[in-house]
């Protein structure tokens, strides 16, 4: 069973603020899902290589040639806060 502190630690890694309701709910539901996942331990996989992508592709290369990309206005078109040609963000350093 995941405890409250673990849930809050994971939420911080994921940059999510959880309400008390969510913290309790996720502790219970994630515990249930992870308990279900324990059945993978029935399988001996010591000699099995992991699969990250089922249809493997080696490095996909292309010629390194300049080509058009988004204009500043396009790139900023959906920005919640804009200042000139920049994204405006909250304070990062104290």
């Amino acid at each position: 069973m995941l405890n409250r502190d673990t849930v809050l630690h994971i939420a911080e890694l994921a940059k999510l603020t959880l309400s008390d309701r969510e913290t309790a709910l996720f502790a219970e539901q994630l515990s249930e899902i992870l308990a279900y996942a324990e059945r993978l331990n029935e399988l001996d996989t010591d000699s099995i290589a992991p699969t990250a992508q089922a249809i493997y592709r080696r490095n996909v290369l292309r010629a390194d040639e300049p080509r058009p990309s988004l204009t500043p206005d396009q790139a900023l078109a959906n920005a919640p806060r804009r200042e000139g040609d920049l994204f405006r963000v909250q304070q990062i350093l104290d």
Binding site: L2, T6, V7, I10, A11, L13, A14, K15, L16, T17, L18, S19, E22, L25, F26, Q29, L30, E32, I33, L34, Y36, A37, R39, L40, N41, L43, T45, I48, A49, P50, T51, A52, Q53, A54, I55, R57, V60, R62, L70, Q74, A75, A77, N78, A79, P80, R81, F87, V89, Q90, Q91, I92
Partner: protein
């Protein structure tokens, strides 16, 4: 002639011969959407003016003697696929108001093929769900029974096709999100091989699994829609540089002499008797058409669910890190510093199911748990892939149920996410193996559609289409419409 009832392959010659116009067809569908979609809620937004302009353009192109594969055909697009200038939300509050500045490659190709885009269809938030109940904009209702879910996450697209609110649609499938709603809604849904269709402009959920594909009224239409979008795209490094065959060409070649594998692990105790009966009936039909059915074993099938629900959330937790309230989407107005802004923006922007999966994925990737969960799941993925390699070496395609049950009631699994996840047990392994599959209607149980799934080798969509077409021509289920 009721224009909304036409299939794409029926409408194309009528358009070509000037018996109908794209404008008339589009107007008929828009009128039907206005009349019926308030009950169904298949669409998140209907772009009537744009659609009519595209239809007029298609009719003018025809008049000038131009031809294109889908010229004048009205389609619907799942709202996880970017459409330039048209709001694209992925069913999430965090993307409310987001207007992409470019079209997904699939949309570009559909426009080039002459298609008319009617609007954007509902989806579980970020395609995470099996019911379309997890849309921030309210659920979609199954046209066969408005109290039931249409499946998900491409439930809006499947419901729109089933209710004849478009001639065809596109969805995305990460663990069954095209095939499962197609089964629940009594339509055809095809998940192409990983890499067959470009994902440029698809809002990412789990990048090693996601694939865009068509939802259609019948198998021929599914082949036509796949044809229009398949093929290598330099904008998507995971798209495959493989030749694309003419999918319509071999469609009617039949199944005589084919070997269809029936994996015994898919016929489990928990499945509804009505589903089992219909799928076994479908196997009888294929045998009567000259196919041989052979029992095969895919021993790791039962492990696909835990593997999927570790790997997909892990990938999602990384993909959804991009939603930071800075470059696009919702931004919390009162955050004091950048960390506060991330936490509050994401807390308010994401719904419960998305948060649950981000949390699960973050946990599976976190220090101390990576080997036990993420790496373990990747290793079992290898075993599942081997099951496919071995089974598909013995036969031309595999036939299984698409889902263990028919469509469930809205709210039925609201308290227990694991129960909802279990609805995906027959569709997940295929994504883990990267191969292709199609679901098509094979009967009804208690008045609700049942789907049968044909799974095929990598890049062998032609075979599963041919197998599906043979069944469809011998039966009439694809012609059944919901009582609306």
């Amino acid at each position: 002639m009721k224009l909304h009832e036409l299939t794409i392959h029926e409408a194309l010659p009528l358009l070509a011969h000037g018996e109908i116009t794209s404008v008339a067809l589009t107007e008929a569908l828009l009128a039907r959407i206005a009349a019926l979609d308030p009950q169904i809620h298949a669409y998140l937004r209907v772009t009537s003016d744009l659609a009519l302009a595209q239809a007029r353009d298609a009719d003018e192109r025809r008049a000038r003697g131009e031809a294109a594969p889908l010229l004048g055909i009205p389609l619907a697009i799942k709202d996880v696929i970017c459409t330039a200038g048209v709001e694209t939300t992925a069913g999430s509050r965090i993307l409310q108001g987001f207007r992409p500045v470019y079209d997904a490659t699939v949309v570009q190709r559909l426009r080039a093929a002459g298609a008319v885009i009617l609007g954007k269809t509902n989806t579980d938030e970020f395609a995470m769900g099996s019911s379309t109940e997890h849309s921030a904009y309210g659920p979609t209702h199954n046209p066969w029974d408005l109290e039931r879910v249409p499946g998900g996450s491409s439930g809006g697209s499947a419901a729109a096709v089933a209710a004849s609110l478009c001639l065809g649609a596109f969805g995305s499938d990460t663990g069954g999100s095209i095939r499962q709603p197609a089964a629940y809604c009594g339509v055809v849904g095809l998940k192409p091989t990983y890499g067959r269709v470009s994902r440029y402009g698809l809002i990412a959920f789990a990048s090693s699994l996601d694939q865009i594909g068509p939802i259609a009224k019948d198998v021929t239409d599914a082949a036509l829609l796949l044809q229009a979008v398949a093929g290598h795209d330099p904008q998507d490094a995971t798209s495959a540089d493989e030749p694309v065959p003419d999918f319509a060409q071999g469609l009617a070649d039949g199944v005589r002499g084919m070997r269809l594998g029936v994996p015994r692990e898919y016929f489990v105790d928990g499945m509804a008797p009505g589903v089992r009966q219909m799928v076994e009936g479908a196997l009888d039909v294929w045998r009567s058409l000259g196919a041989e059915t052979v029992e095969v074993s895919m021993p790791h099938t039962g492990y696909a669910l835990p593997v999927y629900y570790l790997l997909a959330p892990a990938e999602a937790s990384a993909n959804l890190a991009r939603f930071d309230g800075i470059r696009y989407g919702y931004a919390h107005p009162e955050a004091l510093d950048i960390w506060d802004a991330y936490r509050l923006t994401r807390a308010e922007g994401f719904g419960d199911e998305v948060k649950r999966r981000i949390m699960l994925g973050t946990y599976a990737l976190s220090a101390g748990y990576y080997d036990a969960y993420y790496l373990k799941a990747q290793k079992v993925r290898t075993l599942i892939k081997r099951d496919y390699d071995e089974a598909l070496a013995q036969c031309d395609a595999l036939v299984t149920p698409t889902t263990p049950n028919v469509a469930f009631k809205i709210g039925e699994h609201a308290e227990d996410p694991l129960e909802m996840y279990l609805e995906d047990i027959f569709t997940l392994s295929l994504n883990l193996a990267g191969v292709c599959g199609i679901s098509l209607p094979c009967g009804q149980s208690d008045g609700l559609p049942v789907g049968v799934q044909v799974q095929g080798r990598a890049y062998d969509e032609a075979t599963i289409l041919r197998v599906a077409y043979a069944y469809e021509q011998a039966t009439s289920w694809h012609g059944e419409h919901p009582p609306l």
